[in-house]
């Protein structure tokens, strides 16, 4: 018998699902309950090397109010129907808008997109989940608020709520986004509405200015998790500085990463360089300027010799350190002297500013990211292998030169085994670095797709064996990563899940939690 649905939630009969769907329709109206293959097509495409069928949703619900969401969770509890929450739904390279497990119903909050408040003086925003960075950017410009956003590279189409809930990063001094989150409203699985921190107190006006509230701090348990549905989200914005000086420092040898990190760490910890610095490998930057097919053909990873030719032809370092100074011109002048002195010591660094690099397309988009301007230029990464395959491999490293070199060499070696290139960068926190590698492959090529899957699996295995944990992963590998953090943490996550969502209706499988 053929079903009228393209997938069904695990353990839910078609009859029960029919009943749930008609209840959803009563709450949302027919137009906001999507079940046809055509309507659900945009929720199915992912960049992961697994069959789309594994992540096909049964339906999508477009809710716009808290009250609707409360009614939706009641229906889900009644019929044991699991929902997968998305805000702007552009978790590209981590699972996109598709659910973790086949048959889950996507709760799409894109249309719940009011900017509720932007306070110019206290420099904070309170927004609903569907607000994009572009929408907020336009609002700030239109109202001349003089505030800057920090956003991930897919800026215009992604949003602060989804990005921060997955603990994403940007490139300004506010780049570690969850550090700058302040206050959430969460619909719990039992339908209760929690406002975290100071928001719990009626009539408080400090919800977006003081993070901690009273008692155990709860915001963290709603990130990378499935304990609640975030419906409002507060975060801090950076006042526009009077002056901004982006720069890039290039190095010619892979081993120079040791010197780079040892030089940057003290500058970053002391705040001389305030932003989330990026140390990008030549192969991360090359796609903005070069075609892979001009340098190499046939299977296998790109040889070092070809990488050196690309560097020469396109004025790239093997490492390209993008950072910026922010403040008054006087502050920038003082700090620039310190930066130049620190990097100038060994004579290996080539330091370029807007004066020399203003026309360089890689420099232009990096400078935009460091000042919170909209750009999608980083999507050029996908022109490298073509075919739309991508997974972010994202281990955390100490900000210590020797460690970075070890991680880079190990990643490169494992990628090469599977014929894939090292398109990597390090995003410098203060004491940590997110080592971000785009595992690029051609998803239209079954062999490469298989290799990419095995490669990613091996990367996780080998890194965790050495004590290197990943900070975030795509929906096909969440259980594997959860295991690498050991049974005690998994058990606590499960205990919390049971307490907060006994019927397991919220995003089962997120971060390996069921």
């Amino acid at each position: 018998m053929t079903s009228k649905y393209i997938a069904l939630p695990k353990g839910v009969s078609e009859k029960n699902f029919d009943a749930a769907i008609s209840d959803f329709r009563r709450v949302l109206g027919d137009a906001s309950v999507l079940t046809s293959a055509e309507q659900l097509a945009p929720y199915i495409k992912t960049m992961m090397p697994v069959p789309d069928a594994d992540h096909t949703p049964s339906a999508a619900l477009l809710a716009t109010t808290v009250e609707q969401i409360q009614k939706i969770v009641a229906i889900c509890n009644q019929y044991k129907v699991p929902i997968w929450m998305i805000s702007t739904g552009k978790n590209l390279g981590y699972g996109s808008a598709a659910p973790a497990e086949r048959g889950q119903v996507v709760l799409d909050l894109k249309r719940m997109n009011r900017i509720l408040e932007v306070d110019k003086d206290l420099a904070f925003a309170l927004v609903e989940p569907g607000v994009t960075y572009q929408q907020l950017y336009d609002y700030i410009k239109e109202h001349k608020l003089g505030l800057w956003l920090s956003m991930p590279a897919p800026s215009a189409i992604a949003g602060p709520v989804g990005n921060t809930l997955d603990r994403g990063v940007g490139y300004t001094p506010y780049g570690e986004h969850f550090l700058f989150a302040c206050g959430m409203e969460v619909v719990l699985a039992n339908g209760e509405v929690l406002r975290t921190g100071m928001g719990s107190m009626p009539n408080s006006n400090t919800w977006q200015v003081f993070k901690w509230g009273y008692g155990p701090y709860l915001d963290g348990i709603f990130t990378q998790s499935n304990y609640g549905i975030v419906t409002k989200f507060g975060f801090w914005l950076m006042p526009e500085p009077p002056a901004f000086k982006p720069f890039v420092i290039q190095y010619q040898h892979e081993e120079d990463i040791v010197e780079i990190v040892e030089t940057i760490r003290p500058l970053r910890i002391s705040g001389v360089i305030p932003n989330a610095v990026v140390i990008a490998h030549a192969l991360y930057e090359a796609p903005v300027k070069a075609n892979r097919s001009d340098y190499v053909s046939g299977p296998g990873s790109i040889p070092d010799e070809a990488v050196y030719r690309i560097m020469k032809d396109h004025k790239l370092g093997i490492w390209n350190v993008y950072a910026a100074l922010y403040g008054t011109q006087e502050q920038i002048d003082v700090n620039w002297k310190i930066v130049k002195q620190a990097f100038g010591k060994s004579g290996k660094a080539k330091i370029l500013t807007e004066q020399e690099a203003a026309e360089d397309p890689a420099f232009i988009y990096r400078a935009k990211l460091m000042r919170g301007e909209m750009t999608l230029t980083e999507f050029s990464l996908y022109n490298w292998r073509k075919g739309g395959g991508s997974m972010w491999f994202a281990p955390v490293s100490q900000a210590r030169g020797s460690e970075t070199l070890k991680q880079m060499a190990l990643t490169k070696q494992i990628l090469a085994k599977y014929g894939l290139d090292y398109s990597g960068e390090f995003i410098v926190g203060m004491r940590d670095m997110h080592h971000i590698v785009d595992v690029l492959y051609d998803k239209t090529d079954p062999e490469q797709t298989k290799a990419a899957y095995q490669c990613f699996d091996e990367l996780l295995t080998e890194f965790s064996a050495r004590g290197y944990g990943t900070y975030r992963v795509n929906t096909a590998f969440m259980d594997k990563v959860a295991d690498t953090y050991g049974p005690v943490q998994r058990n606590i996550h499960k205990t919390l899940k049971k307490a907060l969502d006994p019927n397991g209706i919220l995003a089962p499988g997120k971060s390996g939690i069921r």
């Binding site: 999507l34 055509e38 309507q39 097509a41 945009p42 929720y43 199915i44 495409k45 960049m47 999508a60 477009l62 716009t64 109010t65 808290v66 009250e67 702007t88 739904g89 552009k90 590209l92 996109s96 808008a97 799409d108 894109k110 249309r111 719940m112 997109n113 009011r114 509720l116 408040e117 309170l126 609903e128 569907g130 607000v131 994009t132 572009q134 929408q135 336009d138 215009a156 189409i157 409203e185 009539n203 006006n205 409002k232 397309p361 909209m374 750009t375 999608l376 230029t377 999507f379 050029s380 996908y382 022109n383 073509k386 075919g387 739309g388 991508s390 998803k443 239209t444």
Partner: protein, 110 residues
């Protein structure tokens, strides 16, 4: 004197009300229709999404090629290789039709 005082009190009360209305923006009734974001026209969608790739050689040029509306719709909804798919919740059908029209127009230059 008494009169001035009572006017002041009334003003203060009004101000407090206004203050609460502003500072408690979030406490607006949940059932009020969503007054969130809506696209103005096809050009706005093109400028704020498509152009970031298709005007800077990241994606292929798509304007002035007389691409059929059905084809544009197909690609927008399903994505194409690395191009992400865009959902009805992001670009509703009516806006997508306007976008297709804008992309297909040959005369205007972006």
């Amino acid at each position: 004197m008494e009169r001035i005082k009572s006017i002041n009190v009334r003003w203060a009360f009004m101000l407090i009300l206004i203050f609460f209305a502003i500072s408690n923006a979030w406490s607006a009734p949940e059932n009020e229709p969503n007054t969130g974001f809506a696209w103005k026209d096809g050009e706005e969608i093109y400028t704020k999404i498509c152009a970031y790739c298709h005007e800077v050689q990241v994606g292929p040029q798509i304007r002035n090629r007389e691409l059929p509306a059905a084809y544009i719709r197909e690609i927008v909804r399903n994505g194409n290789r690395a191009m992400p798919a865009f959902r009805y919740a992001e670009i509703d059908d009516e806006s997508l039709a306007k976008l297709s029209e804008f992309i297909s127009q040959t005369q205007s230059k972006h």
